[in-house]
Structure formats: structure tokens, C-alpha cells
Amino acid sequence: MGSTNSTLLKIPNVEVLMQETGFSPAHIIRLHDRFKALDKEGRGHLCPQDFGAIKELAMNPIGDRIIGAFFSPGKEMVDFHTFVKILAHFRPVDKDRPKEPNSPELINSRSNKLKFAFQLYDQDKDGKISRDELLKVLRAMLGMQVTEEQLESIADRTIQEADLDRDDAISFEEFRKSLEKVNIDHKMSIRFLR
């Protein structure tokens, strides 16, 4: 019992963190251990190279975009709080928690999960997914499996289906609308260990 308590006490503002993200103490401790394991040089924060060292992430077609999501523009370091807050996006939605009318939106709400995914597409952060950005993602995900023409036609078709105001780009609202029927909670949640 002593070891779990002492770890929690070492983390500053851990109560606030738990409240904001909804993680339990056990989760926080596990994430802290993982954070320390990734921070090989023991600096107390992570840099993009630390993420890059994760083999499976390096092999992921959109690995660098995911890493980019952790670092806000201009920052080259991620502290533990930011690490946990970003990961909180992937917490499964609490179905049993009653909806309080005036409470701030949870990090792992459907809308915030969608926003997270949107920013993976929208790299220049102008609030729209342009045809170019879509092509880049498609190229990253499909690589050499399809020809350039096929990629272009997929991109055209996707924009055609989703773009409602005909500005040749997909805004966040259009993105959200096109994914109305998708079970975001299932696809954008990972099982954090109890």
C-alpha cells in the first residue's frame, strides 16, 4: 500500500488531474510508470524522439501525426499532465455517469474525440480539411497499395460526399455530420487497464 500512495504523492496536482480527466488513481499510476519508462533520460518531460522510439508507433502510417498531437505548436516538450490529458481523449465514455447540466465538457466526450481525429487530418490547423490534406493522409494510410489516380478519385469522392457547403474542403461540422452514424466511442477508445 505504501508504494502506490507514495507514487501518487510525488505527482503534483494529481487530484486536479484525476478530476479533469476522469482517470482513477490506478490508471494515473500506470500512466506515470509508462511516462517514466518512455522518458529514458529522466528529464521529467518527453520530446518527439522519445515517442519515436516506440517501435509500433514508428510503424504506424500516421505515427508522426499522432506524436504531433501531443505537442502544441511551438512546444518541444510534453509534461506528465499534458500526456495524461491527451490520453484522456481515449478513455471510454462513462455511460453510467449522469449528465450534469453546468459541468464543463469531459475530455473524452464524443465531440472532443472527433476534434482529436479532425486535427490529425487538419495539419495546418485552419479549421478545414483541404483536398491536399486529405490526399496526404490517404497516401500515408494506403501508401504503395494503390495508384495515384485511385488516391485522387477516393479523395474527390470523399469530399463530394462530405462537403455540404461546396467550398471544396471539409469543415469540422461537416466532418462531424459525416460520422454521425459511426460508433465513435468504440473506435476511438482504448481499454485502459483497471
Binding site: 500500500m1 490506478a26 508507433l57 499522432i66 482529436f116 493522409v137 466532418f175 459525416s178 481499454r191
Partner: protein, 439 residues
């Protein structure tokens, strides 16, 4: 009209009568009699082997069809067809990426528990959507067999087992205390637990039975589900420890305690650690009484790890007999998430799975060594159990699953302060009395 139905009426009665008799005879021969004598026909092992073959078939079927997006993409390359893209496809890669960020040694073990093949139970169907009609048909047949045939059979057996337990232990309770009563009580308990084991179609392999717990000792085991008790108690006789319940459980508890001494605590007594410890020590001091069965984790863990053992049971100072229980997840998920499912729901889940296959290892007895405190002893036992059962030895407190972190430091301060307060109160009282009587 009525005369038309009459011959059918008697025909139906006859058929019902015959089927009941056949059913009862089969029940008696194949289940109750072997349970009394502790032998087995080996039917369950045969069943288990055929289930394994079935799962291999389903695995082959799965391999033929792409399951994940990556596999779909690979298929497209061969087919030359234009892949169907959806904006949500990025989620798959995103999820995988974040999983690898969060992933660590322990999480890997848990995600590895996610079955590579599908055991045809919907509840373990995390990733697999409709794959092929053949597999779905197989699943449908499985549902029919499990719910239509196995479930009623098992429920009947369960009722028989529990009913017999209550009735027979009450009968044995009428005997005068002595060797005869102990002998009968042992036999009755064993028989009823064996029937319950068969009612769950539990296929248990016991290892190292020479280390089975003896009188005057404490048996500790890791805890996954309430049926751990039934699994252990069908192979040996134990004194159970627990809280007094109302309802059916209460009836069972009261009946059991008539036949041999179990330790049931009232709700109020549970909070008093000293009372609990005293009762347990008194029980182990009496070598004519059965070994106590305790689950020190205090809560159900999902059977891939052994969480922190509460030190209470290790302070008593008698020999500890550790037991490791490991369930095979291929046949059914035995873990009980008590915050999600109630007891009845859980039992129904259990009874409608294919089977419960587990292994039990009896470890050699351990005692507290010189200079070792209860916590260190508890950790040593826990490590031994985790090693034997192939479970991850985690330094987690099982109570973290539900409640907030216990603030041990605060508690210590509170204790100190309250002691000071009590001390002062006593002094105050003393002075008052003194003052009162002297005047």
C-alpha cells in the same frame, strides 16, 4: 372436440412421465453418484477436447477472412479493386498508435488475453463483426446448444446441489458432536460442492495435491470469482469465512454452520479488526477444526494478475497454505466485475458459457519467518502464488478498483489525535468523578 383431444392428452402425459424418469436416472447415474464418490466418467474432459477442436475450426474460418483494416488493404492489393475509404478509417490507426503509447509490459499481457480466435461467445466478440455466414451459423448453433440444452441442465443441477446442501447439512446438524458427525459433514459438503461443480461444467485440474491444507492452517488463494470457493471446496473441506447475508445465502450459511463450524461475521463485527483476528486465531488453535479458506485480495481480480494481499490474515501466525487458481479464458470469462453485473446475472453468464476450465496448484506451506512482518510475509506468499499460476504479480491494491486511495498518513494522524483526545477525556472524566465524590 374433447374426445378428439383425449388420446393426445394421455400420450403427452406418458411422454412427459417417461422423459422425466429418463432425465432423473441419467442425472443420478452420471452426476449424483459420481459426485458422492468423487469419481468421474471423463465426459467433461471429452467435451473440453471437442470444444478445443471447435475453436480451432473457427480460427481457421477467421484466418480466411480479413478482420482488420490492414488485412483488408492487403486483400485489395491482390484484388486490384478500389478500396472503400471512410473518414473514420483513420480512427483505427489512431487507436493503434495511442495503444502503443500507453502499452507497457502489463497492459500487453492483458491485451494478449484478448482471444486470437473467437470462442463463439458474443460477449468476447470485441473486434469481430460479421465475417462469414458459416461462422455465424456455427455461432447460432452454439447459442441453441448453450441456452436450450446446457443452461436448463445446469440450472437444475445447481438447484439440486444447493437444495441437497441445505437439507443434508441440517440433518447432519442433528447428530451429536463427534467423529461421526465430522465424517458425515465432510462427505455431505464434498458431495454437494461436486454437484455444483458439475452444474457449472467446471473442468478442474488439481496439481500437487500432497500440499493440500491441513487442520489448524489457513488456506489463501487468489480471487477471481465467487465460484473459486466451490472449486476449492469440492476437493477438500474448509471452514468458510464471510459476512452473514440475508435471503437464500443466509439460509445456506445457517444450514452449513450446523454441520461443521464455519466463521460467519455480523456486519457490525466486520469493522472490528481485533474481533475478527481473535475469532480466526481461536479457530486455527483448535486442530480438530477444518482449515480456514481466505481470499486476501478482498475483491475479484480479472485473473491475469495477483493484486495486493491484505495483511490481516497473515498476522494470525499459523501455517499458511497458498493456492493458485488460474482460469482458461478460451472457454468462458470467469471474472466477475461486481460493479457492472449483479450476482444472478453473473451466474447466468457462467452457466451459459461453454465450460469453465481451470487449474489449481497447491503450493507447499509457508510460515512467517523471524524478523518478517505481516506485510512482507503477505507479499512473499503473493509472489509465490503469482509465479505458480503464471499471473502477473502487481503491487496494486485491489481496493483501488473501486474506492479512493486510502490516505494512510492521514489515518495515522487521526489515530494519534483521537488517542490524545480520548486520553484527555479520560482525565477530564476522572477529575469530574473525583471532584464529585470528594464533595
Amino acid at each position: 372436440m374433447e374426445s378428439y383431444l383425449f388420446p393426445f392428452d394421455s400420450l403427452i402425459c406418458m411422454l412427459l412421465g417417461i422423459s422425466f424418469t429418463v432425465w432423473f436416472t441419467l442425472l443420478l447415474v452420471f452426476i449424483i453418484v459420481p459426485a458422492i464418490f468423487g469419481v468421474s466418467f471423463g465426459i467433461r474432459r471429452l467435451y473440453m477436447k471437442s470444444l478445443i477442436k471447435l475453436f480451432e475450426v473457427s480460427e481457421l474460418m477467421l484466418k480466411m477472412h480479413p478482420v482488420s483494416l490492414e488485412q483488408e488493404i492487403h486483400e485489395m492489393r491482390r484484388g486490384g479493386a478500389e478500396p472503400e475509404f471512410d473518414m473514420s478509417d483513420i480512427f483505427y490507426f489512431c487507436r493503434r498508435g495511442v495503444e502503443s503509447i500507453v502499452d507497457d509490459e502489463v497492459t500487453k499481457r492483458f491485451t494478449a488475453e484478448e482471444l486470437e480466435s473467437w470462442n463463439l461467445l458474443t460477449r468476447s466478440n470485441y473486434n469481430f463483426h460479421h465475417i462469414s455466414t458459416r461462422l455465424t451459423a456455427l455461432w447460432g448453433v452454439g447459442v441453441l446448444i448453450r441456452y436450450g440444452f446446457l443452461l436448463p441442465l445446469r440450472v437444475t443441477l445447481a438447484f439440486t446441489g444447493v437444495g441437497l446442501l441445505v437439507v443434508l447439512t441440517s440433518v447432519v446438524g442433528l447428530f451429536p458432536n463427534g467423529r461421526m458427525k465430522n465424517y458425515l459433514s465432510d462427505k455431505v459438503h464434498l458431495m454437494c460442492y461436486r454437484i455444483c461443480v458439475r452444474s457449472l461444467t467446471a473442468i478442474i485440474t488439481y496439481h500437487d495435491s500432497e500440499n493440500k491444507p491441513k487442520n489448524g492452517g489457513i488456506c489463501v488463494a487468489n480471487h477471481t470469482s465467487p465460484i473459486d470457493v466451490i472449486i476449492l471446496a469440492s476437493d477438500g473441506c474448509y471452514a468458510m469465512v464471510g459476512q452473514v447475508h440475508g435471503g437464500l445465502m443466509g439460509v445456506i450459511q445457517r444450514a452449513m454452520v450446523k454441520a461443521c463450524p464455519h466463521i460467519w461475521f455480523e456486519r457490525s463485527e466486520v469493522k472490528d479488526r481485533h474481533l475478527v483476528a481473535k475469532r480466526l486465531s481461536d479457530h486455527v488453535a483448535d486442530t480438530s477444526k477444518l482449515p480456514i479458506l481466505i481470499f486476501p485480495e478482498g475483491t475479484c481480480i480479472n485473473n491475469t494478475s495477483v493484486m495486493m494481499f491484505k495483511k490481516g490474515s497473515f498476522e494470525i501466525g499459523s501455517t499458511v497454505y497458498p493456492v493458485a487458481i488460474k482460469y482458461d479464458p478460451r472457454f468462458g470469462e470467469a471474472f466477475w466485475n461486481s460493479s457492472k453485473f449483479g450476482m444472478v446475472n453473473y451466474l447466468l453468464h457462467m452457466m451459459s458459457s461453454w465450460a469453465i476450465v481451470c487449474s489449481v496448484w497447491y503450493l507447499p506451506p509457508m510460515s512467517r519467518m523471524e524478523g518478517e512482518d505481516a506485510v512482507q510475509f503477505a507479499n512473499r506468499v503473493k509472489a509465490a502464488i503469482a509465479r505458480k499460476g503464471g499471473l502477473a504479480d502487481l503491487l496494486w491494491d485491489g481496493g483501488l478498483k473501486r474506492g479512493k486511495v486510502k490516505e494512510v498518513f492521514k489515518e495515522e494522524q487521526q489515530k494519534l489525535y483521537s488517542k490524545v483526545l480520548v486520553g484527555m477525556c479520560c482525565l477530564f472524566f476522572f477529575f469530574c468523578i473525583h471532584f464529585f465524590f470528594l464533595n
